[in-house]
């Protein structure tokens, strides 16, 4: 027996340190409470990654992500990936798993384009990935993917933000954050999400960055440790990084967020 006590009638313990459970050796073992602990541990891995924010308006979907660097000498880990001209993902969790899933998504999109001569509908790909994640939770060999993905895309039905869970579930959102300290960002979004529908693109980006700021460690958002992406009907999925991001950071710093945020910027 390990030092940590094993709890039988457990609380969910998702916000506390996880105690070792008796039924968590295998992903194919149920606990008496009807839970798959390995899958829940995989979802914990998502919470260890740095924060990502996804918001959408009537026409645009915006993703913002905080990048982490291993140490002072290393580069910042890429968080936002382009999947196709109309779709992209922001990830939180094990980056290697994310890279493998991203490769799969890119191939699927290319194949769809080849066979049907049209871009892949976002929801179809999301379900595909969810099924792929679910398969790993039901086999004894292999483990669940340890990465949560915010998928932003625009297709004939408009812009979408989906969240793919390692458990194989997927949800559609108007605004969502995942990752470490994301609760603060979530609170901010809950206060403002009703204005997103009619917001202009710049206002939307400002909301995303301000939400991200709430989750950052010391409120330090700059063009190096942050990246955003925009997709819309007239705009292919574009990632803004580094120099290209500086104007949006300045825009966020200049004006404070006001309640009625449908208006364009002051200057």
């Amino acid at each position: 027996r390990t030092a940590g006590a094993s709890r039988q009638g457990g609380r969910s313990g998702t916000d506390l340190a996880m105690f070792r459970n008796q039924y968590d050796t295998d992903v194919t073992t149920w606990s008496p409470q009807g839970r798959l602990h390995q899958v829940e541990y995989a979802m914990e891995a998502v919470k260890q990654g740095s924060a990502c924010v996804g918001v959408k308006s009537k026409n645009y979907a915006v993703l913002a992500a905080l990048k982490r660097s291993h140490n002072d000498m290393s580069s910042y880990q890429k968080k936002v990936f382009k999947v196709d001209e109309h779709m992209g993902i922001a990830i939180s969790g094990l980056t290697a798993d994310a890279r493998s899933l991203c490769k799969y998504m890119r191939t699927e999109c290319l194949e769809h384009q080849y066979v049907y001569e049209s871009p892949m509908p976002v929801q179809r790909l999301v379900v595909d990935i969810a099924d792929k994640c679910q398969t790993t939770t039901q086999g004894a060999s292999g483990r669940p993917y340890g990465v949560g993905m915010l998928i932003a895309g625009h297709d004939q039905t408009g812009p979408h933000i989906f969240y793919n869970c390692p458990s194989g579930n997927y949800y559609e959102y108007k605004a969502m954050t995942i990752g470490a300290r994301s609760q603060a960002a979530k609170t901010y979004l809950e206060r403002h999400y009703e204005t997103f529908e009619g917001a202009e693109l710049n206002a939307l980006i400002k909301h995303a960055l301000t939400a991200l700021k709430e989750s950052s460690q010391n409120g330090d958002i700059n063009s190096v440790n942050c990246s955003i992406s925009v997709v819309g009907p007239d705009k292919a999925f574009t990632i803004y990084d580094g120099e290209a991001l500086q104007p949006y950071i300045d825009m966020m710093d200049k004006n404070e967020i006001s309640e009625g945020d449908g208006a364009a910027m002051q200057e």
Binding site: K82, R106, T107, L110, Q113, Y114
Partner: protein, 251 residues
Amino acid sequence: MKKHFKNKIMIRSYWKNFFWKEISDLNSLKEENLLKKNSDFNFYQNNGGTVLGISSKNFSLIASDTRFSLGMTLPTRSTTRIIKICSNIILASAGMYSDIFFLQNLIQIGIKKFKNENLEKCLVSSCAFYLSYILYCKRFFPYYSFNLLAGLEKNREGSCFCFDAIGSFEKTSFCCVGNGQSQVQPILDGIFQKKSLLEKKDFRTMLNAKSCIKEIFLKIAKRNISIGDGLQIFIVTKKGIFIENHFLKLD
């Protein structure tokens, strides 16, 4: 059911009762051969097209006619044989349109994959090797397509690659493939290699090259029934890809 005539055997096929074939004694008499269906189905058709490519110091262009022919008929007068693969490479193909269509899709997807995995643009020569590979993979049932790849390399030099149906290719600065190849290639040799003593102008500037191409196409449209209807020119420069459309005779 066999009927024997003098020196001839008439066989009715077991499977296809509506089809029978007359065969003489001297030919093969084995039943398997006689029951073979006389297939008139031809896997290839020649949909025409003449494609011309010129590359020079700071641009690269491909010109193609837009006539889609099928024997003596014209399914359409305005097909596009030239496509953009990425922002600095264009590909044009002459030959059978369905093979061209799928081949061009394959290349576009392959180069998109390259971009995803390598985060940088594909070189024209890399793309040419890739196209050669795709074509050779079908060595024993080839794509009926004669291709011309053109683009701008990183140092802003234009380059032009011409292919045959199974993938052997060569980097040249001017080339012609397709139906009108036998008529146009000698003209190009004369002009661009300065072999003809009559031409004094420098045809490697964009304006001169374009006017030269228009004249060439006007003239061979009169001499070749599978060329005509329209002329489409794609020009790759460092500012982007420009498209020009001109009319040729509709006869």
